[in-house]
Symmetry: C2
């Protein structure tokens, strides 16, 4: 057996995070994470759980009783949603227009569902007529869609139209809100979304580890009347009901510190006001969009489905996207990302999320990205970009 490893002090570089997440964490959230722990059944922790639920309902714009942080990162809340709602034999309709539709498909299949698709290319939203056609053809029991596609920077418009189609067919609607919650307009109740999940490390500017999930009574009735128990014990909502519901009985040890963190992050949302927060994202990301466009770069999505929290900037012809991404990391400690899957090499993914959605970060991004592109002999007009940015900020 080896000797004790000699590992030095934790000393990561001081990055600015403008990739697809995690985003820069608010200092108050970091401070909350150094709070000493109480037990997961402590009366004081029960009170904290209640507060988190209340703040999370406010942020999701829902009155759903069943609104909790799942003990894991965003993919855990996704699997909690799908793994509990989908029963063996259910037909599940998922989209093809981005990376996370594929993840939904894999989870639905593992839950015993049969997957069918509503088709749309990567980088485009779903068209209601196509959703209607898919419903008529397949009569799915569960319909999943991605409200804010982190892989493509596309915001799904027309959500109430999609949920109406699903409900006309007695189906349940699951919405991936990982990159919209707390940053982009989202109305869980008004839009008729039955189940929504998210992650804390995007527009909530909170470290990953406890991830928002909400289900309305109709969805929870399906979950609680399953014939076969869900395939995960850890994520079984009928068992979690014992802990988060009235009993407060032990299921698993909650990630106390992550609950402290999300409480502080959601408290910051409540202090700012959810509508003001959406407006800040629109304004600051709008300045980023105006700035990069004036520099001579294009954005992939059209304005109608532009996602303020994740900007898919087209990579100019001849540019090595990976080299530009490495350049801004090496020279400016700035994290941005490239495209995934069908869009690999074609887009830069530039996040503008939560605490990081600030004018100074937009100016920083334009400076660094402009220099990285100039280093590859691309002619960009950074001065024009700054002028357009300032104009948009002052509107």
């Amino acid at each position: 057996m080896s000797d004790a490893p000699d590992v030095g002090e934790l000393n990561p570089p001081n990055r600015t995070l403008m990739g697809p997440g995690p985003s820069d964490v608010h200092p108050r959230v970091l401070r909350a994470m150094s709070t000493p722990l109480v037990g997961h059944l402590d009366p004081s922790f029960i009170e904290i759980m209640d507060e988190v639920q209340e703040l999370m309902r406010y942020t999701f714009r829902t009155d759903n009783q069943w609104t909790i942080p799942v003990s894991g990162t965003g993919s855990a809340s996704m699997e909690a949603a799908i793994g509990n709602l989908v029963e063996p034999g259910d037909t599940v309709l998922v989209p093809t227009n981005g990376y996370f539709g594929g993840r939904m498909e894999s989870m639905a299949e593992r839950a015993g569902g049969s997957v069918v698709h509503v088709d749309a290319p990567w980088g485009k939203p779903l068209a209601p007529a196509d959703v209607q056609d898919a419903f008529d053809e397949h009569q799915p029991d569960v319909f999943g869609f991605v409200h804010a596609e982190t892989s493509t920077g596309v915001k799904q418009p027309n959500v109430p139209e999609l949920t109406s189609i699903a409900h006309d067919h007695d189906a349940y609607v699951v919405a991936d809100c990982v990159t919209s919650l707390g940053g982009v307009e989202l109305e869980v109740d008004d839009w008729g979304i039955d189940v929504a999940y998210s992650g804390p490390q995007k527009c909530l500017s909170c470290p990953p580890g406890a991830s928002p999930l909400t289900l309305n009574d109709r969805a929870m009735d399906k979950v609680l009347s399953r014939e076969e128990e869900p395939r995960s014990w850890y994520l079984d909502l009928s068992l979690l009901e014992g802990y988060w519901g009235d009993d407060r009985s032990y299921h698993h040890t909650a990630p106390i510190t992550n609950v402290y963190a999300i409480r502080e992050a959601l408290r910051l949302v409540a202090e700012e006001g959810i509508e003001s927060r959406w407006e800040r994202h629109r304004r600051v990301a709008g300045a980023l969009k105006a700035g990069v466009e004036a520099m001579g770069l294009g954005l992939n999505p059209e304005d109608e489905y532009w996602l303020p929290s994740l900007n898919a900037v087209l990579v100019p012809g001849g540019v090595d996207a990976g080299a530009a991404i490495d350049y801004v990391l090496d020279h400016y400690d700035l994290e941005i990302a490239g495209g995934l899957g069908a869009l690999a090499g074609d887009i830069f993914r530039i996040g503008c999320m939560g605490y990081a959605a600030q004018p100074e970060n937009v100016a920083f991004l334009m400076t660094a990205l402009g220099e990285a592109l100039e280093a590859q002999d691309v002619d960009v007009d950074v001065d024009a970009g700054f002028a357009a940015m300032r104009e948009r900020l002052h509107q």
Copy 2:
């Protein structure tokens, strides 16, 4: 929709945690958690991941390449172990001697396994002869046991005997080391354990959220040659192999801050030295044991299978255990717990784990518990307890 909730500053009470976990977190670990984040694919984070793996191998006493923190609390690492190793149709042998054997059973069934039992009453360890009989009768593919039963305070002795029986039958051994890792002698490689999992919030004194798991090559070969994919996408080790293995490709967003925390907690283990740490737990918990016995209380387990990290103290006849637990919480901000399941009302569960395994905490516990029992008119000799405690500490 409701107005923004008005939730005050995070201000939990200042508890001392001597229940079954979480235990008191080391201040250096709390400080690490307030470190700003880097991205989960940042080159600097890859280095941190390597360091965590190296430190975790040291703590598990293993050379297993496959040694990672699972992105969730201890039950997530348990489900990762069982959900990946157990394939539909496998026969899985689990124990009946505590709460966590029952949890293994539920997870194994959800993974598609057929569960059989090796019987032992709650509060007793497994006898090798009974394990042998169960193997001869059922020929299981996978054998799970609990090294340190948090529900009963029982340490499983004779581990190498059990693993030999299993290997003679070509079975795989899964060990629950949630309450032993980092506090109680554990030799994953020397004892022939194929898969071991733990939680960070016990003897590692780290907040829950990223949980140790290790598999040897033999077990990983079974996992990677499954005919049917595991039922959880989030916990699928063949996918996690892409992130923690050589590719470093995206699977899910790792809980960065929890990885920072477990790195610091494991670094503290390496600084102290694993064997010194075991010895400290034996000495300090030994003083606790000697103290409460001299006060006139009994411990449930016999010395041979006493678990230093979790002491099951018998509740004296006529005492309301719940009232005594509430008394020490209300008067001393001290958390201890009662029994679960078959031992509910019969034992106090008193943790002596990691950072909390210190003489001052033993004295504090005896003071508080003594007073709580006296408040219920129980005749306890706290002075004798203190004398015995001091004697044991000075040995």
